[in-house]
């Protein structure tokens, strides 16, 4: 069974519940936090294999978090899947230097897309 660790940073609790359920069923070890500050603490503790990150978060922004992660060699190597309502306004090319490997549009994605994205970045 795949025991890769996934950290979900998502302030919408109900959406995070569904994402966690789906990824857990697929065998991933899932941790959910609601904001970037909690994410930094969780990343230190867990050292996740992949981060699923919402963009608009309460408190510290997702961009600040990504900047922080890029400041260190180990955390900078963690692939990030950006899952956001603002995907149409963002470009994966622009975000790649921040460690973003996939860009998911919450308004059009299917539930399985997240699982496919996690599998894709962990290959």
């Amino acid at each position: 069974m795949n025991q890769s660790k996934v950290l979900i940073v998502e302030d919408d609790k109900w959406l995070a519940q569904q994402q966690s359920l789906m990824l857990s069923r697929a065998g991933y070890l899932v941790t959910h936090v609601v904001g970037a500050d909690e994410a930094i603490a969780a990343i230190d503790d867990l050292v996740p294999d992949v981060i699923v990150l919402d963009v608009l978060l309460p408190g510290t922004t997702a961009f600040s978090l990504m900047h922080e992660l890029q400041s260190y060699g180990d955390t900078g190597a963690i692939p990030i899947i950006l899952s956001t309502n603002l995907a149409a306004d963002l470009s994966l090319d622009d975000l790649a230097p921040y460690g973003v490997r996939r860009l998911l549009d919450k308004t059009t994605m299917l539930p399985d897309d997240l699982l496919a994205a996690v599998r894709g970045v962990l290959l």
């Binding site: 919408d12 959406l15 789906m22 609601v34 904001g35 309502n85 603002l86 308004t107 299917l110």
Partner: protein, 247 residues
């Protein structure tokens, strides 16, 4: 690292919504989140992989998310028509109004692992306002607090008075990240708010606050915010009714 490219994305979120279509953009932004959530939850149910109890839970979440979105659309419609209508001002018992709001919001807060409670006063107060508009303002503040308060904590709806009892203040205290400096300055200045940059308070366009300020204007009331170390209190100040003194 490509900081120039990164900054262009950052600017997207800091761009003030000051053009003619800002309200539409803000409304679209605010509605996108609940609609996207409803869609995701519906797709999960469609997949058929859920237990009956999980299905029930998701259906309840869909209902409550729809209601939140509908409240926003209803407030938007009402705010556009403010200039067309006369709003009757009447004496209102704010404690009873807030108690009704707490009762209405309790299921929504419970599903989010949060609580909402009324901080009551020993002595009754009476204020002058339009019941519907005042209710919408408090609901809007509460909705904002729901989003920014931490899991397991309670938001507090408080009724108080100041200025020698001539002004009644209804406040909604949350426990979450504070407002940006820009947002505080606009509230402090007392001038009409407009839809704000997306990061005025993270994850919000400030549309709810903007609508609340319009409703307050229609009642000759003022809204404001007090920053705390661990959150904020959004409040509305209204004129006290003199009827109580005559009783």
């Amino acid at each position: 690292m490509g900081t120039v490219q990164g900054d262009s994305n950052q600017q997207l979120f800091d761009r003030p919504l000051t053009d003619g279509v800002s309200s539409f953009v803000a409304a679209a932004h605010e509605l996108k989140s609940p609609l996207a959530l409803i869609r995701q939850l519906s797709l999960m149910i469609e997949s058929g992989d859920l237990s009956p109890s999980d299905q029930q839970r998701l259906l309840r979440q869909i209902s409550l998310t729809s209601e939140r979105a509908l409240r926003l659309t209803s407030d938007l419609t009402r705010s556009v028509r403010l200039s067309e209508a006369m709003f009757e001002l009447e004496p209102i018992n704010p404690q009873q109004l807030c108690r009704d709001i707490v009762h209405e919001l309790t299921p929504l807060f419970a599903l989010h692992d949060r609580r909402v409670k009324l901080v009551t006063r020993k002595h009754p107060l009476l204020l002058v306002a339009n019941r519907d508009l005042l209710r919408r303002v408090i609901m809007s503040f509460s909705d904002n607090a729901l989003h920014y308060t931490q899991d397991g904590s309670a938001i507090e709806i408080k009724v108080g008075c100041h200025s020698g009892g001539s002004v009644i203040r209804l406040g909604v205290r949350d426990y979450g990240p504070g407002l940006s400096r820009l947002n505080r300055r606009q509230l402090k200045s007392g001038r009409n708010l407009g839809p704000m940059p997306l990061h005025s308070r993270p994850q919000s366009s400030g549309l709810g606050l903007y609508i609340a300020s319009q409703f307050a204007d229609a009642m000759n009331a003022k809204i404001g915010v007090t920053q705390h170390r661990d959150g904020a209190t959004f409040f509305i100040d209204l004129q006290a009714s003199r009827q109580l003194r005559l009783i």
